[in-house]
Symmetry: C2
Subunit: 288 residues, 2 copies
């Protein structure tokens, strides 16, 4: 299996669907939404949900594409709000000036809001059974809201990230739960049973933790050009990262160990999960 | 019918449900969410949806309360973000320091985000048929997102509100569509047919316009103590309002005319819509 080619193929399909779903640039709000959405992301979350959906035998784009693209809209919302001056105050994202540098702070808040809201609405456009779509929306909101990603960002903002005890919790909430939901959502929309969904969620949490630790590592070793955002930012702000707490080598082992445990679960599910397992492994080996 | 007593009764039921649905104050994020949510709003949108649900014969709180309360969570999200320094920069809301003055700007952004997300998730908890709940979520997102409330706020931010031609559009997007959805949502969850839903939506748009013009009028004539937010703010910022364009007396007539047309539609639907009609009329006569 050529993982790189597979990811490129899925990425193209997702880009095309995103462009269809998003309003055109005739308004400055939608222009700001498109600016951040088409700044060159990996489309990791949509790809995870697609591979998971296909692994349980799903083959109807009208069922899965609204869900997959919804994940990307909402992910982009979190990036825009995280970069705001009142949050991480980051001037660059994916190698381009961040939203508030380009459109002003108020419009960046609104572009994030609209991506979040339109993203939720897009998920509701899936043609899968209403029961499954309703459940996906409900679990998505739980993943993102006051007990999930947003709480993780609030802890981060308030400096909990300087406490090693809280580092794992913040990584879990800010990244791993979202990755886990992405993996689970595809199989959920494809009609998987509870036992399989639980295993996929567990595999997704582990993959997400490995991915975030890898992100911490790259932030230490990469230049801005490679990374597309301001590197060493986490060091400057005294925000703790895995390399800062455990050193670079041990962080690499932690990241790989998370991925290995995720791959182990996925492999145990049968050959149809091979592609998702390969992607999980890739996530901690990537260099950007 | 004693409208004031009816509203007080519904308001109490909604307050109790809101408190059950919301997480406790153990985290500073959830504390910020509760601070704004329990700052003493009229609970207008939930009450509209409740009355509409009951008018079509609905009588199961498990069906309607999650939807009704969802409207209030999301309405509170729009207030918090509208007050941000990068938006209207308002230091007071409902007579108390606004969220960013109390919790800081970053936390106010996040409290708004979490109310929005939790609100969407709460709507998905309605026990009405999945098909109806999915549709309600989809229409709610369309009401709020890049073609609705958020676009209205973006136009307002960018100064379109200084152009009389755009004033009606901004009022429509920022307020009237949300009110209209609130009226429609109750009947939708209660199983109403398309013809009735369309009439209710039309009545809701008219009621929402009347309500917003009345809001403009109160902003001109009330002191801060009565209003709970900074009065004359709209004048200072050169933002156009109905009184600024049409004068106070003509604005009153416009507001009442909107309400009259709304009441006319509701009255034509039969005696079970009498309570909603009375509330619509009250909305343009209120003094705060």
């Amino acid at each position: 299996m050529d993982l790189v080619a597979l990811m490129a193929e899925k990425r193209r399909a997702i880009e095309a669907a995103l462009s269809r779903y998003l309003p055109d640039e005739s308004h400055r709000l939608t222009k700001a939404m498109r600016y951040s959405l088409f700044a060159g992301g990996k489309r990791l979350r949509p790809i995870l949900s697609l591979l998971s959906y296909e692994a349980v035998g799903g083959n109807n784009p009208e069922e899965i594409m609204p869900v997959a693209c919804s994940l990307e809209l909402v992910h982009t919302f979190t990036l825009i709000h995280d970069d705001l001056p009142s949050m991480d105050d980051d001037d660059f994202r994916r190698g381009k000036p961040s939203s508030h540098k380009t459109f002003g702070e108020g419009m960046a808040v609104l572009a994030g809001d609209a991506l979040m809201i339109d993203g939720m609405g897009l998920m509701a456009r899936s043609t899968a059974s209403s029961r499954l779509v309703k459940r996906a929306i409900s679990e998505f909101a739980r993943t993102l809201g006051s007990a999930g990603v947003t709480m993780g960002q609030a802890d981060d903002l308030y400096g909990e990230g300087r406490n090693p005890k809280h580092l794992r919790h913040i990584h879990l909430r800010k990244t791993a739960l979202f990755i886990a939901f992405s993996v689970k959502a595809g199989a959920l929309i494809g009609g998987a049973n509870e036992e399989l969904l639980n295993k996929l969620y567990r595999a997704g949490v582990l993959a997400g933790m490995g991915f975030q630790v890898c992100d911490d590592i790259m932030d230490v070793i990469c230049s801005r050009e490679e990374l597309g955002k301001t590197p060493g930012k986490d060091e400057d702000s005294l925000k703790l990262t895995y390399p800062a707490v455990y050193g670079l080598e041990r962080s690499r082992r932690i990241s790989q160990s998370y991925a290995d445990r995720s791959v182990e679960i996925l492999t145990s599910l049968g050959p149809e999960w091979e592609r998702l397992a390969a992607l999980t492994d890739y996530l901690v080996r990537r260099r950007r």
